[in-house]
């Protein structure tokens, strides 16, 4: 102890400098390594959320009467409650109010399609999406048919500032047996930068993109179609497998 007798203790200034240096180095490391802080936080929040939910295999979100409507110079309106479910008018859409994380599965059930025009029929499921004055930002899975002479197509697309970016992230023609009056059961799995569409339980189409890390889900109808559905349910990934 005697050799330190005449030394002054570390001052507050040194502690502050050390803290600042540590903070700068941490931020610098993350920014240089390309890791987005928002992504890190989103993943941390997801982890906490999904850990809690997976244990009970509960739902992350479910359709309710409280939809955020798409209404601007392009979209015509939102989603309204109907007989035993919900109704989406042509060129209408809405998002569930729940703010979801990055990874989940979406199940749209009890779909009824009424094609009010011979062209531009279809509907879609928005995911990792937000809607504000700038328009829709996020991703969409859609089933669409230009007219009766062309096959129905399923595809994943990205939306930026209310515009569907061309070309789609991934697309696939549906078999000629595709029947709008009895559309297949669609389930979308959203995990990391990978999105998979399941048709009647079988994987059919996969796309990859990392622009949007998190966001909500919703339903839209093309201008040639009036859509009804019973329910939209969002669950943690692997919930059904775990339950079996």
């Amino acid at each position: 102890m005697s050799r330190f007798k005449n030394l002054r203790a570390q001052g507050l200034v040194e502690y502050v400098l050390l803290l600042l240096l540590t903070g700068f180095v941490a931020i610098l490391g993350l920014s240089l390594s390309g890791v987005s802080l928002s992504e890190v936080y989103a993943k941390a929040v997801d982890g906490l959320k999904f850990n809690n939910v997976t244990a009970s295999c509960g739902e992350l979100a479910r359709s309710s009467g409280d939809w955020q409507a798409f209404k601007d110079s392009f979209w015509r309106g939102g989603i309204t409650p109907g007989d035993g479910g919900y109704r989406v008018c042509p060129l209408c859409g809405g998002l569930l109010p729940a703010r979801l994380g990055s990874d989940y599965e979406i199940d749209l059930s009890g779909v009824g399609v009424e094609n009010i025009r011979p062209t531009w029929n279809g509907y879609g499921l928005a995911f990792r999406s937000t809607y504000d004055k700038n328009g829709l930002n996020g991703y969409m899975f859609e089933v669409e048919q230009v007219n009766k002479n062309k096959p129905a197509v399923i595809y994943f697309s990205k939306w930026v500032n209310g515009k569907q970016i061309q070309p789609p992230l991934a697309a696939m023609d549906m078999p000629s047996s595709f029947d709008w009056t009895n559309p297949p059961d669609f389930r979308i799995k959203v995990e990391g930068d990978s999105f998979t569409a399941y048709l009647n339980g079988e994987p059919a189409l996969t796309a990859k993109d990392s622009t949007y890390a998190a966001g909500g889900v919703g339903v839209v109808a093309n201008q040639g179609t009036q859509l009804t559905f019973e329910d939209l349910v969002v669950k943690p990934i692997g919930c059904e497998e775990a339950a079996q």
Partner: protein
């Protein structure tokens, strides 16, 4: 230092020692190293912030938008992740101002479809992307039709 611990004059009968011990020397060296590291880290952070455009100011993007047939199109232009919007005039010409400097994703849209273009924007300068022509397939979706 207490009075009792103070050196007596007897110790310095023959003058002051050549190397007077300096107890605060190590502390001063530590402080200098710390400050140097701090400045280096701060410098790197500023460079990084400059690169990502946070402090780099804004620039402009200009160009002409055309439909698939080559006719001028009153397209809407925006930047992903930034509240910057412009609409092309009847000649298809647009000037998008206030674009944060850096590599930006420009969205050129019409109705509810669009194309993404990566543009390098420098502060205080205008980037001319020239003519942008939509492809016929860009409008082969329900969102590319008239409302």
């Amino acid at each position: 230092m207490s009075f009792e611990e103070s050196p007596s004059l007897e110790q310095y009968r023959n003058g002051l020692p050549e190397n007077i011990p300096d107890p605060s020397r190590r502390l001063r060296i530590f402080r200098k190293i710390l400050l140097a590291l701090l400045f280096v880290a701060l410098g790197m952070l500023l460079v990084r912030l400059w690169q990502i455009g946070s402090l780099a100011g804004t620039g402009s993007v200009t160009g002409i938008t055309l439909d698939p047939q080559g006719n001028p199109l009153r397209a809407e232009i925006s930047v992903a992740g930034a509240a910057v919007f412009a609409t092309a005039d009847e000649n298809g010409h647009f000037v998008l101002s206030g674009v944060p400097a850096g590599v930006r994703s420009l969205v050129i849209g019409y109705r509810a479809v669009g194309r993404e273009i990566s543009v390098q924007v420098a502060a205080g300068q205008t980037v001319d992307i020239g003519e942008f022509r939509f492809s016929p397939s860009d409008f082969q979706t329900a969102w590319g039709q008239p409302r």
